[in-house]
Amino acid sequence: MASRASGAVLSRAGRIRSKLQSSLEASALEIEDVSHQHAGHAAVRESGAAETHFNVKIVSPKFEGKSLVSRHRLVYDALADELRSGLHALSIVAKTPQEVAPK
């Protein structure tokens, strides 16, 4: 798996960045680790894991003509490995380049 090599050295935030960048050709990408806001969260407390909650703002041409559900699914698909390995929740803002272009 391509992600394994980078996974060893990068933080989860770094892996999320590189995965979204490559699979969705993001033209703009903001990733914010908000795990601390969920420190008391039952699921987080039990696992003791860090880097569980992120805010993601992403602009990608691949969202063109797609519903919000489909856009979020593209993001989730790109991060499937992370979601299986302790990433708990994402808050996603997914836009097309056109939608963020100044009018």
Binding site: H38, L83, S91, I92, V93
Partner: protein, 299 residues
């Protein structure tokens, strides 16, 4: 008189002489069969309008302050809802609703009579032609219940009938707040053998109900901020929705993993409309902000 209840006036006489007040603890449980959605308006209702009889008519009964049903003049319900407030008091008390044929349909109590009548007029306009109103001073729970009882008894003694709207099982007049709905359970219990696979139970549930929210925790006590926000949005839009607690390991055992596969969506909450996944908290928030949820409201 039940003197053990907190918040009661010590004696019925005092309820006629002391100044009107509305202690917050004198709430009426929404489960009372004759109470029509009292809670939200409680804080707004002004002090009861003074409508007292001369001192000489005092008798040691709470209902002594109340004019009898037959002696109360009916007030016709205006066609324009804007005129309701002018015709009916926003005070606490008992009210009796009559249809076009002059038949008594329902006797209710309210912390805001005008607002309750407005609600009835919206939901069953054909049954709301005129209303008799009896304002209750010192409207604690017992005083209101007494007032309701005295009008009900008077009517039943005179006609031998219970008003149709007050018969048990009749929900025409009583709107339970949507929050009272229980969370749905997918299985009869963790150790019960399922005859139908969980996927299929999910599938049926989301197709048989217009709006279903799969949340962490119960709808009355969500255990996750995202679930809480979703519930808040649905409630504030007045959506009639079902909820399922994905953390319920007894009655929804295995639901989290199965639902993630079913919906192809890895996180919770998840909201379904007409059997389709609409999304999680982010998408629902965005739809809410764009006003796209108003179509789901049952009003």
């Amino acid at each position: 008189m039940a003197t053990s209840t907190v918040g009661l006036s010590p004696s019925p006489l005092r309820s006629l002489t002391s100044s009107p007040s509305l202690p917050p603890r004198a709430r009426i449980a929404p489960s009372l069969p004759f109470a029509s959605r009292l809670k939200p308006r409680l804080a707004l209702s002004p002090l009861p309008a003074a409508r007292r009889r001369p001192a000489g008519t005092r008798r040691p009964r709470v209902s002594a302050a109340l004019t009898s049903l037959s002696e109360t003049e009916p007030v016709s319900v205006p066609a324009d809802s804007g005129e309701l407030a002018g015709r009916f008091p926003s005070a606490s008390g008992v009210y009796a609703v009559y249809d076009g044929a002059g038949e008594l349909q329902f006797v209710g109590i309210s912390r805001n009579i005008a607002a309750s009548i407005a609600g009835h007029r919206r939901s069953v306009p054909e049954l709301c032609c005129s209303v008799k109103v009896g304002v209750v001073d010192e409207p604690d729970r017992v005083a209101l219940t007494q007032a309701w009882k005295s009008w009900m008894e008077e009517h039943m003694t005179a006609t031998g009938k219970v008003p149709p709207g007050n018969e048990s099982g009749n929900t025409t007049w009583i709107r339970q707040p949507p929050k009272k709905k229980p969370d749905l359970r997918l299985t009869p219990g963790r150790h019960m053998q399922l005859t139908v696979p969980l996927e299929e139970l999910i599938d049926r549930l989301v197709k048989e109900n217009k709006v279903v929210a799969f949340i962490k925790g119960s709808r009355s006590a969500p255990m996750c901020g995202f679930s809480q926000r979703v519930i808040g949005i649905l409630e504030s839009e007045g959506v009639d929705y079902e909820s399922v607690d994905v953390l319920d390991e007894e009655y929804n055992y295995g639901l989290r993993e199965t639902l993630k596969k079913y919906s192809n969506w890895p996180t919770f909450p998840q909201v379904f409309v007409d059997g389709e996944l609409v999304g999680g908290c982010d998408i629902l928030t965005s739809m809410y902000e764009k006003g796209e949820l108003s179509g789901l409201s049952k009003k």
